[in-house]
Symmetry: C2
Subunit: 365 residues, 2 copies
């Protein structure tokens, strides 16, 4: 097991990465203010891992309650969130009762937001069970639910007390979900670490074969970068925005097609390529770099072509993005592989990219 620390002005917490961690209840028990916790999971993950986690906590003397939500981004809404509040109130849970998220990013984001709001804030712990959640959503304290008019529109910055990333839990993850997580992994290389990007080019096959060592290396690397960035800018007023590489376009894809049609990571993959295309159109990165990016994403099993939403709809969807400012969309773009910046891009260039006029990068498949 390796442990990183995320250090913030007001708090710090450990991110444990390794194998067999689900059974080490002590990693969680030691950060709880009360030997009682509510585990939040979903219908898919609970049958696989809930009883093991409960048993591990019981061995440490922690009494657990559970709430099992329906599975899917469609349920990342107020009505489902309210089921967590109902369960907490029904069980008479107090301000010291912790919430534990056992699941992917959807369960993690909802549990975190519930913890932020219940009685104005109770402790919580993240046990991410998807690769995406391990490298991204469980770390850094962004929590949210969706609004019919926008993804993650209602939420809070609220930090967990600990993150437990157990590689063994990825064994049961569907291939498509593994690939979606790899999109965020590639994102870290692209936005800030060319050497890691190179490592990914060499090791993508191992990762897709779920080699535990390779996965742990990648997760640790991503978490280290995320912890570093969030440590500098918890509330996303500056550098943290770089983590949204591919996300302005990606969110528009998710919303445009209807949440859940494309996976978040798939949309981000296509979105990163649109960002790469835009960066190339601005004369920033080379066509070769765009091709390397596309090749790596394809090797990760990800879509590299965005769906055709129509330029107008694209723009309207993107102007709803949280990064919008005075009505103009701010993009995360690439100066080179491993070096991203936040920038405005001329609307006509972005439009051309979105209409496919500029797309020259695509591999001859």
């Amino acid at each position: 097991m390796r442990t990183l620390d995320l250090v913030l002005p007001d708090t710090r917490y450990p991110i444990h990465i390794g194998q067999g961690l689900l059974d080490q209840g002590g990693l969680i028990a030691r950060v709880l203010p009360q030997q009682k916790a509510m585990i939040v999971s979903n219908e898919t993950v609970a049958p696989l891992y809930l009883e093991r986690l409960r048993a591990a906590l019981a061995r440490e003397g922690v009494e657990t309650l559970t709430v099992v939500l329906p599975d899917g981004e469609d349920y990342k809404d107020w009505a489902t969130l309210n089921r967590i509040f109902d369960a907490l109130l029904k069980a008479g849970c107090e301000r010291k009762t912790a919430l534990i998220a056992l699941g992917g990013g959807v369960v993690g984001d909802m549990t975190g937001f519930a913890a932020a709001c219940y009685q104005r804030g109770v402790p919580f712990v993240q046990v991410p069970t998807t690769l995406l959640a391990q490298v991204d959503s469980s770390v850094g304290g962004k929590t949210a639910i969706n609004h019919p008019q926008g993804k993650n529109m209602i939420g809070a910055f609220y930090q967990p007390r600990a993150v437990i990333a157990d590689m063994d839990l990825l064994d049961t993850l569907p291939d498509r979900e593994l690939s979606a997580g790899l999109a965020e992994v590639v994102k870290y290389g692209l936005l800030g670490d060319a050497a890691f990007f190179g490592w990914l080019e060499d090791n993508m096959a191992l990762l897709r074969a779920r080699d535990k060592q390779a996965l742990a290396y990648a997760v640790e690397h991503c978490c280290r970068m995320k912890a570093d960035i969030v440590g500098q800018d918890e509330k996303e007023q500056g550098v943290r925005a770089l983590l949204n590489l591919g996300h302005t376009f990606g969110h528009a894809i998710e919303a445009g097609l209807g949440f859940g049609v494309w996976l978040h990571g798939e949309a981000v993959a296509a979105g990163m390529l649109l960002a790469a295309d835009t960066s190339r159109a601005l004369g920033w990165i080379s066509n070769d770099d765009v091709v390397r990016t596309e090749t790596l994403l394809a090797a990760a099993g990800l879509p590299t072509r965005a769906p055709d939403l129509g330029a107008e709809r694209w723009m309207s969807l993107m102007s709803h993005d949280k990064k919008a400012e005075n009505g103009s969309v701010r993009y995360v773009l690439l100066k080179e592989i491993g070096y991203a910046v936040v920038a405005n891009a001329p609307t006509d260039i972005v439009n051309s990219i979105l209409c496919g006029k500029f797309i020259q990068h695509s591999l001859k498949v």
Copy 2:
């Protein structure tokens, strides 16, 4: 106009108290990051003051949008909160668009919570229009909505950028609401300032006649105490709990009778007397002090007798309180007038108080 500053580790903000402030749009405009804001009000307050506030802001170049909610504690719920989110999203509001609460504590609590959650946090300003909101709810950053199973159960600590308390707005406040606000005013005297309690005994008639000078004095005094307490303990881990004097009992009354039957301040008044009774039963305060308290609350036009909820229901309602810990209720009790403490009280004593067995304080009315 007098201005106090609430100083917190991460932020500080002004509380302006005086007359004619609604028309001074500059007080708000200067704290906005963007010359655009959404004013949230309700059906009762909007016809009285909304256009004046909009005009004052327009004079400062601030564009305003509005959302008018139905009036009442019954609407302090998720569905109504969502109307604020709908309006924000429909208008394409961004992270820099501020929310302005124009109303009593219900509008203030909901607007603050909406500001805390919309896109994980946007700026907001409080323009409290009830006495209760001016002396209590608008200051200190507690925001919340109710859950069917408990008042203010879902919320956040989230500070405004400024509070504008204009005494002129109290002219239209119904007498019963003025009295409810006076309950919180009396609370400040009781919990921490015997001299102010004495001032209230001398000036209650002026306050009820809405003498602007007297009101401004009382509001400033209460805000100063609140700012001082919140400055020491933003997240209610210690001294801030004293502000809940009368509230553990009071919340049980509100929930027990159904929200809205008794006003919050009325329930707090009866709750403070139950706390006084309990304190006397413990041998802490004298019967005289209980009588002084009852006399002052009666002079403020407040109920001094709690409704009969039945001891079992009382206890079950109180154990849901946010101040509960390990299942045992923590009370704010009185060592003397002007000196409150957080303490446990033997259940049998509290039970006897609630059953009326100990009640000897009551005035011969």
